[in-house]
């Protein structure tokens, strides 16, 4: 038997609003998740444009004098590099750092994070020492003051002692020129 339709059909478009909102959220999450060169551990540093924290402390090298804050931001830009012997990416970036220090003549200050001093020195004996000075950050206090979240990290400090850039993770050979441009801009 036929039925007579008395009810008007409900419009469907309002249903689309929550669906579209949900779709938007899913799309955004999928985009952020699948983005190729996004490192989820990356955090922007709030220290950019601020005066560099202290690097003062005892040297990692035996017989060398203490590292002082006068070494950072005096007479030209410096790179402050946080590393440890147990950090594999530090090993990866070491040749690039060496090149920057030796060939481009950039002053490199090392902060050796919570390393056994012997292991730290052995690391440099094996790979060479491109640093002008290395402070042994035994307690991690220096690194935490710089807002370091992982190793390696490298800061560019200009001649006034202001942080102009932070490089997160190892400096890869293809990133060298970019970093050098920033260092030259800071002098």
């Amino acid at each position: 038997m036929e039925t007579v339709e008395t009810k008007r059909r409900r419009p469907l478009w309002p249903v689309a609003i929550p669906l579209a909102a949900f779709g938007g959220v899913v799309g955004f999450l999928a985009y952020m998740l699948l983005l190729d060169d996004r490192d989820p551990t990356y955090l922007p540093s709030p220290l950019i444009g601020k005066p560099a924290p202290s690097v003062a402390g005892p040297s990692l090298l035996e017989g060398a004098g203490d590292v002082t804050d006068g070494m950072v931001g005096a007479g030209g830009p410096v790179l402050v590099n946080f590393f440890a012997s147990w950090c594999l990416p530090c090993r990866v970036e070491h040749p690039v750092l060496t090149e920057i220090a030796r060939e481009a003549g950039v002053t490199l200050i090392g902060v050796n994070y919570k390393d056994a001093p012997d292991a730290g020195r052995a690391f440099l004996d094996e790979l060479g020492n491109p640093y002008a000075a290395i402070v042994a950050d035994q307690t991690g206090a220096i690194s935490v003051n710089w807002g370091v979240t992982g190793l390696p990290e490298t800061f560019v400090v200009d001649a006034d002692g202001t942080i102009v850039y932070r490089h997160f993770g190892p400096i890869l050979p293809e990133q060298r020129d970019e970093l050098m441009a920033i260092v030259e801009g800071a002098s």
Binding site: T6, K7, R8, R10, P11, P14, V15, I17, P18, A21, P40, T41, L43, P44, S45, P46, L47, K50, P53, K114, T139, G140, A141, S143, V144, N145, W146, G147, V148, T149, G150
Partner: protein, 164 residues
């Protein structure tokens, strides 16, 4: 049966209790109990920046221990709790705070859910209003001859069924 219920209860208790153990080492305790209590409060508000979803109270990562040491150092230096928070935020950004502050970057976080709720309520309201058929829009034209015949047939049919 009681045994089974007890087991189930115990299992639930374990599941719901979650990770109870803090990562704070006994040696980290501060001499002053009042300072220690404040330090523990602050630990629980600060995110371990490498584990991302744990506080530095819960995390046994190196950096979490370093940050706890920094909190204690600032407390010993006489900082108030907000000063300690600001000190760490100045180095790690607002991301270290487990309770996100209201700032342009977090507007979506703060206003997104209420906005979605309002959108949903509006959508439902519109939908319901459209669905109701107002009386004055109901068809008021007189039945056509054809409809009259069909109506009569239906009524007869219904009567027949009732009598049978």
């Amino acid at each position: 049966m009681i045994r089974r219920a007890t087991l189930l209860g115990a299992a639930l208790a374990v599941l719901l209790a979650g990770p109870a153990a803090a990562a704070v080492m006994p040696g980290e305790a501060m001499e002053d109990p009042a300072l220690e209590a404040r330090a523990r409060g602050l630990y629980q508000e600060l995110r371990c920046v490498v584990c991302q979803n744990q506080s530095i109270y819960d995390s046994d990562a190196e950096i979490a221990a370093d940050l706890r040491a920094l909190v204690r150092e600032r407390l010993r230096a006489g900082d108030t709790d907000p000063e300690v928070r600001d000190y760490i935020v100045a180095r790690y950004g607002t991301y270290v705070l487990l309770d996100p502050p209201m700032e342009p970057l977090t507007y979506a976080l703060w206003f997104g859910p209420p906005a979605l709720l309002v959108a949903g309520v509006v959508a439902i309201a519109v939908w319901r209003r459209r669905a109701a058929v107002p009386l004055d829009e109901a068809p008021d034209a007189p039945l056509s001859d054809e409809e009259r015949v069909r109506l009569a047939a239906l009524v007869d049919e219904g009567d027949g069924e009732q009598r049978a």
